[in-house]
């Protein structure tokens, strides 16, 4: 059994410890280099994963962790997000005396997510979940002098632990039914005795799991924490939460729910369709009336969760591939967008030290003049989120909606078609609030002169832009990747 495939996780764990220790030894001023260290570590892991085995398949620790295309794709997503977040944080937390803990926690969170990505056992899944969650609880409250940051952390913590409790409860039930915590074994059990599988107890268990994952995905009605937390926590952390830990829920759902649902052959199509539609509509409709951009982005990412969860409605290979693509795209777009907001916050603060809610729409007026690169990037992210080609967002939605349409035609089910149409109308509706911000950035006059955009931010944001447009212009390899990943589930 070669542990090379787990090298990234191992590396990052060690790196986290190293960062902590270094932080103890170093003096305040030189702590800034820790950011570069962690960035290097993340970059190394990305390279490593890309280097060997996007398509490897192996399992470890008594088959409790598995490495397969699906896990690798999501690991890649998590790593990329963490990377750009770290790069941006170099500026955001410059000269902060606690940045060593920050980077350590961020790395641990990443490890947690990666564990979830390749978890093959409910225990591993739970542990990974908790590792990621707890690190992010702390990160959300990292500005410990800032009440809203702390409030965000608190809400995140309470709802988070509630839902992990629910999840655990669900897992216990599943274990009780199947007598095993190993996911393949569970699936096997369901396949072999359908009677049990369709028992109401089992359904209850499933719903508990849905609750647990739905919390991370910010799926209505498990979304309540998201807007507050995204708004309150430091922008870089919001970026990590929205772009990274959100996807944790999806990969878990792909691994457990999809398989389980396929196995127990009860059709939750309608249920998930309703959830998805409610989620996307809710997100978009509420986003319209927001003035705080971070909050608007929060709601828009709820809406995006709605789109992605369409993949569960028709669990076809194509739909899951689409879901994965959209998840990947969303990671880049949303992550980048939050970082851009962070930069705006930086800009506003450099205008006046003690400015309140820096992410207010008004601060974006004339951004195209004040911070051209940021404005343009934000423009790209918004169009991508709205699904305008050529962009990652478009490719994702394209494949996803395509798969639903196909399913609708195949099953000759008109309501599926209606689902797609609603989804489409939603993504048209979303243009409204994106365009409003774009208008502020490019049409309204600036209320301040041009600023110098800090290099780390710019690098991070541009990475996201390149990713977003790159996937849009040359989606071929990514589509392949997604399809391979979807194949793993063998649906």
């Amino acid at each position: 059994m070669n542990y090379n495939l787990l090298a990234p996780e191992i590396l990052l764990t060690l790196l986290a410890l190293v960062v902590i220790i270094l932080g103890l030894l170093m003096k305040e001023t030189s702590k800034n280099m820790l950011g570069y260290v962690s960035a290097a570590g993340l970059l190394a892991s990305i390279v490593y994963i890309l280097g060997n085995g996007m398509n490897e398949a192996a399992s470890f620790f008594y088959n409790s962790l598995t490495v397969d295309p699906l896990s690798q794709v999501f690991k890649l997503i998590f790593l990329i997000v963490s990377l750009i977040v770290v790069i941006a944080s170099i500026e955001y937390f410059r000269d902060n005396r606690n940045q060593d803990e920050y980077y350590a926690l961020l790395l641990l969170a990443t490890v947690g997510m990666m564990v979830v990505a390749s978890a093959n056992d409910l225990v591993a899944l739970f542990v990974g979940f908790e590792l990621a969650s707890m690190s992010t609880y702390v990160l959300a409250g990292f500005e410990k002098k800032n009440p809203s940051s702390l409030e965000a952390a608190l809400k995140y913590f309470i709802i988070g632990s509630l839902s992990s409790a629910l999840m655990l409860f669900g897992m216990s039930l599943v274990y009780g039914i199947t007598g095993s915590t190993n996911i393949p074994a569970i699936i096997e059990f369901f396949k072999s005795n359908p009677m049990v599988a369709t028992s109401s107890l089992d359904i209850v268990a499933m719903i508990f799991l849905v609750a647990g994952f739905g919390f991370k995905m910010a799926l209505v009605p498990f979304h309540m924490w998201a807007p507050d937390t995204y708004e309150g926590s430091p922008s870089v952390v919001s970026s990590l939460l929205a772009a990274g830990s959100k996807k944790m829920g999806f990969v878990a759902a792909f691994r457990v729910l999809v398989l389980a649902l396929v196995a127990i052959r009860i059709d939750l199509q309608m249920t998930f369709a309703i959830l998805a539609i409610i989620t996307m509509t809710y997100g978009n409709v509420v986003a319209i009336s927001q003035r705080s951009i971070k909050r608007m982005l929060a709601y828009s990412s709820i809406a995006q969760a709605g789109y992605i969860s369409l993949a569960f409605v028709v669990t076809t290979q194509m739909s899951i591939a689409g879901g994965i693509l959209l998840a990947l795209g969303h990671a880049l777009m949303k992550g980048g967008a939050f970082l851009a907001v962070a930069l705006v916050g930086y800009m506003v603060l450099s205008d006046n030290k003690n400015a309140k809610n820096t992410d207010d729409l008004g601060n974006f007026a004339g951004l195209g003049k004040r911070a051209p690169i940021t404005a343009f990037s934000l423009f790209v992210f918004f169009l991508a989120l709205a699904g305008i080609p050529p962009s990652a967002g478009f490719v994702g939605k394209f494949v996803l909606f395509y798969s639903i349409t196909v399913a609708a035609i195949n099953q000759a089910s008109s309501w599926l078609l209606i689902v797609v149409i609603i989804a489409i109308l939603n993504s048209a509706l979303s243009i409204y609030y994106y365009a409003r911000v774009i208008k502020y950035m490019y049409v309204l006059p600036p209320n301040g002169e041009k600023i110098k955009e800090p290099v780390p931010y710019v690098v991070a944001i541009l990475l996201a832009v390149i990713g977003t447009i790159g996937i849009g212009l040359y989606p071929e390899p990514f589509i392949q990747m997604a399809i391979n990943a979807a194949k793993v589930l063998g649906v």
């Binding site: 109308l425 243009i431 040359y474 071929e476 589509i479």
Partner: protein, 498 residues
Amino acid sequence: MAALISLMIAIPLIGAIITFLTRTREQARLVALLASGISLVISLIIFSRFDSSISTIQFGESYPWIASLGVSLKFGVDGIGMPLVLLSNIVIPLTVIFAWGETKEANRFYGLILLELVGVLGVFTSLDFFVFYIFWEIVLIPMYFLISIWGGPRKDYAAIKFFIYTHVASLVMLLAIFSLYFNAWTISGTPSFDMFYLLKNYSVIQSPLLKDAIFLALLFGFIVKMPAVPFHTWLPDAHVEAPTAGSVILAALLLKMGGYGLFRVILPLLPYSGSPAKLITLMAIIGVLSILYGTFLALAQRDLKKMVAYSSISHMGYVTLGAAALIPLSVSGAMYQQFSHGLITCVLFMSCGVIQHSAGTRIIGDLGGIAKHMPKLTFLMLAGFLASLGLPGMSGFIAEFLVLVNSYFTLPTFVILALFGIVFTAGYHLWAMQRAVFGTYNEKLGHIHDGANYEMASMGILILLIIFFGLNPNPVLNMMTTNAQQLLKFVALRGVIT
């Protein structure tokens, strides 16, 4: 010289990027003019080498792109696309010349205009549905900015309305494309977005219900762009608020995308659709409704520009009508209407622009007798209006004559209805001229000056073109007819029309 078309698309793109980077407006407009000029030259080369006696794709190019979805960059022109490519390349440079005096954020302004050129050229030449759709969407963005940055008082409302309205339409169209794509895929086993391939396989679809659904979705996507009643309300707002150059491009090129869709996509599908007869009637109704409705609303307008906007709606109605009639000459007449309306409407909107600019208002009632101070404009504007009301000797007449005469074979009732529109069309044009331009000079306007030379120049060129194509339609009409006949072979085969 294989890659002429991609060159023609690439140059404005590069030009646009350079324009965005330029510092002064002189540089910006110069670059814009050069880029669009070169593109025009290329299109003229293509046009001169174009063989109008064959209906197949010419100057075709193909490059692989997304293998797993079967998407590839296919470009090419035929009798349907060529005239519109030419039109786009004529209109854009003239727009740049007309807007030569633009001062507000010139580099962005001209850059966006060039982007529009890229978009429409892409739409008119791409033969891969995926690519087609991408260009179709890209066109929206520069127009959104043109309206919302350089627009009038209610520009926000207009811009967003325009964007969402047409975006919804294109998304619905996307659904239909999905279905075609999936259908073709299941048949052949290999994915492909090749336009003709998808259209060809439409006939294989079993359920007539699905066929009609696909057809209607596509139709919706196109007629909203055209726009046809009752999906037209975005147009007047967009036009009223947009800057002159924006309106010109919107009316002359963006609306044509819808018509192009009819010929490129709808007509090949029509004979194989579930219930052709019903759909033909539907299209005819939409066409005639647009003609009459547009006319009467134009009659009701106080704002000169809004009147012109509604006149566009009514003129585009002829396109739908001619397409629905399914007679080779009516279809080519409809195509010719696209081409000629593209030229004519430019003059109208430019006139509105000049008046707005020098008199400070476009409200017909507040104007009056401006001919006294604006003789040059009056001359060109009158010519444009006469062309627009279908005066013989101008290109508009040929188009409408062909449509009316030939549609009568299959849609007599609708033609008779459409004929009623003509009187009122003349009515609102002359009414506007009489009230706004002739009569005693309204002293409240103060001293107004005639249009600038560059404006007059571009309008003059357009008028000359209108007259030229009114006296000698053959250069473009022949290739249209060739393709129209080819299109309607299948109609005849299916014996749809009786």
